[in-house]
Point group: C2
Chain length 563, copies 2
């Protein structure tokens, strides 16, 4: 890149990064009441059968952490690469990088079930150190799990040992630099450990944005987005993360691998798309070259309501197929619409619900649309094109307050979940995607599977669903499940439900993908052969053997058991 | 797909398909004069130093074709799958599937250089027969080259034997069915051998279009598009072919492999993108599920001229980055603009040139823009958004006649090339792509390499260039070279020039991709490591070993020598 501007590193790495992930819950900004107001709790009790029950987070001190199994010789070799102070064997350091943020991960951190604690945490300073750490691990047969924001909800950062005697977490938090920008080509090189808000802060100094805003935004990293094929809430406008990846730099036991010389190519298969989604089993992504855009100067978010899921889904399909999607396009089914109004704030919500009932909305489905652009005129013109399709399909317009309310609360989900966990609720999400002609069938199948699996006397599970990613040929389905926790078998309760949902998705074709943007990790590995075939799994295993012949990289993820 | 409509096969396969590819030249529609009028010939002579010289196509009978080396036992095994009448060993049948349509391929068919003639042509009826043919070839160690339209310009269908004693062409012409359509999801399943115009005819019966129009449109097939990551002239609107591929069915020696259950997924790497571009070395693509669109009901093509390459390229970049590209967006540099006007028809062209000179255009660069849409209103609105960016950048508007002239002549290139070959001209194209900040550097480097390599006393090569595929981060560069043939070493003349151009592209970074849409084949294989790294080539080889352990599939392509 001729016009590339290298960005000088002015940050001071003096250890303050080392404990930023030890806390497992998402700190509430304004106390728990702000997250779950009393009326929300009342609604939950009446809707699901939740009784008074309290299971707050256990103190970390109550958790059982075994001795580190990292051998002295491997430890010394790692210290020789990153320095003694960056190979952490302390209880809290290891516990802080134990597991991700799935419901079961959180339960385990509350003392239910067993934690897979790594033997040490290694904190390299730069891509060169990552490369050497990878080589040391291959040489000494030490399992290595790349750790970015630790936000995996599918077991992607579990400290599994596979066939190895020890496993270390490779915490990428010191790879936090914007390396260069090329404003002409609209490219930026970001190190893998840059957390999304920091990426936006660094890019905004150049008038640029990435525009990638998944719900994990506040914690997730650039490397994690690439490793898992992340998709943000504004994917309709900015694309999925894989659409933004123009180049990658990856540390593998066979050496460093760099890809990306042009926006498109016919020089064989697109190997960038083999690295994106590889979940750390082929190598550790250390840098990503991303396509960036100018910071939006105008934005407009609005709420609309349609009567009935099918009508709403047809509208989203029409917007996608006419290629006039808003940047954010998000349709909730009646259950999610009810839940959204019930869990969010107060009298205004009540007014909206009354208003909708007055307008004869039997099954109101909320559609949030958000446009962002380089000028007010662009937003106005794109909004006009979108609304032209809505016309004639009888939407009720709720206007900007509802749209803005959604935008401001867009990252609140994880915090709300912590509060629900405290109250004894089993709350988890799962997602899939399929072609349009299949969307209704798939939604019904997953709903039925979850409801059947979670029903028990006196308890009614809530299974809510939305489409938040729409394509010309299909859309995603994102399910949120809320049900009182089964005190006798809290882990089994969700495992059973998740297995039922995965079976529904993976059967008959399969009906859809086992994951639209949560990745495979440990949880979805058993369902991968149904989706990509036995040959597909064999191909991935062949690539892994080529790049990681010792099998040290992220054991047990993506491909399941070591092969 | 629930709403999938199976399409009944009503075609009669009685052998008429078997000779449709025996001719190597593209039949002129209205005689040679219509292709190269006298004023064009005069311009060529004055511009390049071309003298009177005539080298018409040699009669096929003059070409040397050796005996078939296919063993009786392998031949019998193949006949047992496809029937005796569909294993062709005749001279003309084999010659008709010898090589592709590069300049050197055409020269070889004119008696210059050596032809790599296959030992037989196998013509299976359906995907099941393809699967069994692949297995028979693996069992008997017979090389197998998938053959669609035979339009490769990079040696992708050369009948190389690799380490095998014989090689057969797998002619996919009988896999010519539209298998099903899903109008709700806008998907269609097409067999690999469907030729592009036939695909459009079959889809148009359902009111649908694929919209993929590369210059090879008249002959190229669906399977070939997928195997080579093809990109059509309307890629800005319809996407590259890999963007249209939702699913694939591939016959491999390890069994059949099917991919594609949803428009997007995070279930590991996107293996569809590993199959797309695999050039027949991993398996034979037998069916492709493609995204389709409604037939356009309105279209508008227009010509504009900008003064100077840089200004023109900046306009194209601005259109791409503001995401208001016309479906066809094609900018010619001053050399190609001059050539376009000189080679096309008569007095109107002269008038245009005079007009441009009057308007003070020192270095006129032609920009053709074409919009297609579901309604006149859509075209009007999208055109408005495009033209808003042109404003203030001083275009001269040539209006619809120039746009329509381009549209009608869009597939004429190959025919014009045949006529030029007859006249003793060395004419060939090559292409690359890079990021915007690098486009000018790359164009200059390739121009200089070609000019230096082709210059000789009394002769001035024409090196013309256009951008026809634009992305937010970069664009393609397509070069056309015209120079009087070197009578002493016609093959060496182009090999030398091509090597110089490839070296210019592959050096310093590399500067760009070795191929934006022509694929790797034999010709680009030496330059692949510079682009995807030694590890990238090792990964592809590992995948090949997994799927094709005997190494029978398309020997010598993509990866070069068998590995």
């Amino acid at each position: 890149m001729c016009h590339t501007i290298p960005v000088t590193d002015t940050r001071d790495h003096t250890g303050e990064h080392l404990d930023h992930l030890v806390r497992r819950s998402w700190t509430p900004a304004g106390g728990q009441d702000a997250i779950l107001p009393p009326h929300a709790t009342r609604w939950l009790a009446s809707r699901t059968g939740l009784t008074e029950q309290s299971t707050p987070a256990a103190p970390d001190s109550a958790l059982v952490v075994g001795e580190s199994a990292l051998s002295d010789v491997a430890g010394k070799a790692l210290e020789s690469v990153v320095g003694a102070g960056n190979v952490l064997r302390g209880r809290d350091d290891r516990l802080g990088r134990t597991g991700g943020l799935s419901y079961l991960d959180l339960l385990r951190h509350r003392g239910t079930g067993e934690l897979a604690v790594p033997d040490a945490v290694v904190v390299p300073a730069d891509p060169e150190q990552v490369q050497r750490v990878v080589e040391v691990c291959a040489e000494h047969g030490v399992g290595l799990v790349p750790f970015g924001g630790g936000t995996s909800v599918v077991g992607g950062v579990q400290a599994l040992r596979g066939s190895k005697e020890s496993v270390v977490m490779l915490d990428l938090c010191r790879l936090d630099r914007l390396v260069s920008v090329d404003p002409v080509s609209r490219l930026a090189v970001l190190q893998a450990g840059v957390v999304a808000p920091e990426a936006e802060r660094l890019l905004s100094a150049h008038g640029l944005t990435l525009g990638h805003v998944p719900q994990s935004f506040e914690r997730a990293t650039i490397g994690g987005f690439a490793a898992t094929r992340s998709s943000g809430q504004a994917s309709a406008g900015y694309g999925r993360f894989e659409d933004m990846v123009e180049g990658v730099r990856m540390a593998t036991p066979r050496g460093e691998w760099r890809l990306g010389v042009s926006p498109a190519s016919a020089a064989g298969p697109d190997l960038r798309q083999l690295v994106v989604g590889s979940e750390g089993v082929f190598g550790v992504i250390t840098e990503v070259t991303v396509r960036v855009r100018p910071l939006p100067k105008a934005r407009r978010y609005e709420g609309f309501v349609f009567d009935g899921w099918s009508r709403g889904a047809q509208v989203v399909r029409a917007l996608a197929q006419r290629r006039v999607l808003a940047d954010v396009t998000r349709l909730s089914d009646p259950h999610e619409t009810e839940m959204a109004f019930a869990l969010s704030g107060g009298w205004k919500t009540t007014l909206v619900r009354r208003y909708l009932r007055l307008r004869g909305m039997g099954d109101p489905c909320l559609l949030v649309l958000g446009w962002e652009g380089e000028s007010e005129a662009e937003v106005v013109s794109r909004r006009k094109a979108t609304l032209r399709v809505l016309r004639g399909r009888k939407p009720v317009t709720l206007g900007r307050p509802v749209g803005e309310k959604w935008r401001h609360g867009r990252f609140a989900g994880p915090r709300q979940r912590d509060a629900l966990l405290d109250m004894g609720v089993c709350v988890e999400t799962l997602e899939t995607a399929t072609y349009w002609s299949n969307v209704d069938t798939l939604r019904s199948a997953v709903r039925a599977a979850l409801q059947d699996a979670l029903a028990r006397p006196g308890v009614t599970p809530i299974v809510a669903c939305h489409i938040s990613h729409a394509y010309e040929t299909g859309g995603s389905l994102y399910f949120t499940t809320i049900v009182p926790r089964d005190p006798d078998d809290p882990i089994g309760q969700w495992e059973h439900a998740k297995a039922a949902a995965c079976a529904a998705i993976s059967s008959n074709g399969p009906l859809g993908t086992i994951t639209h943007h949560h990745a495979v990790g440990v949880d979805h590995a058993p369902y991968l052969p149904a989706e990509i075939g036995r040959l597909g799994v064999d191909v991935l295993a062949a690539v892994k053997r080529e790049l990681d012949p010792e099998g040290v990289l992220n054991p047990g993820k993506l491909l399941g058991e070591p092969r």
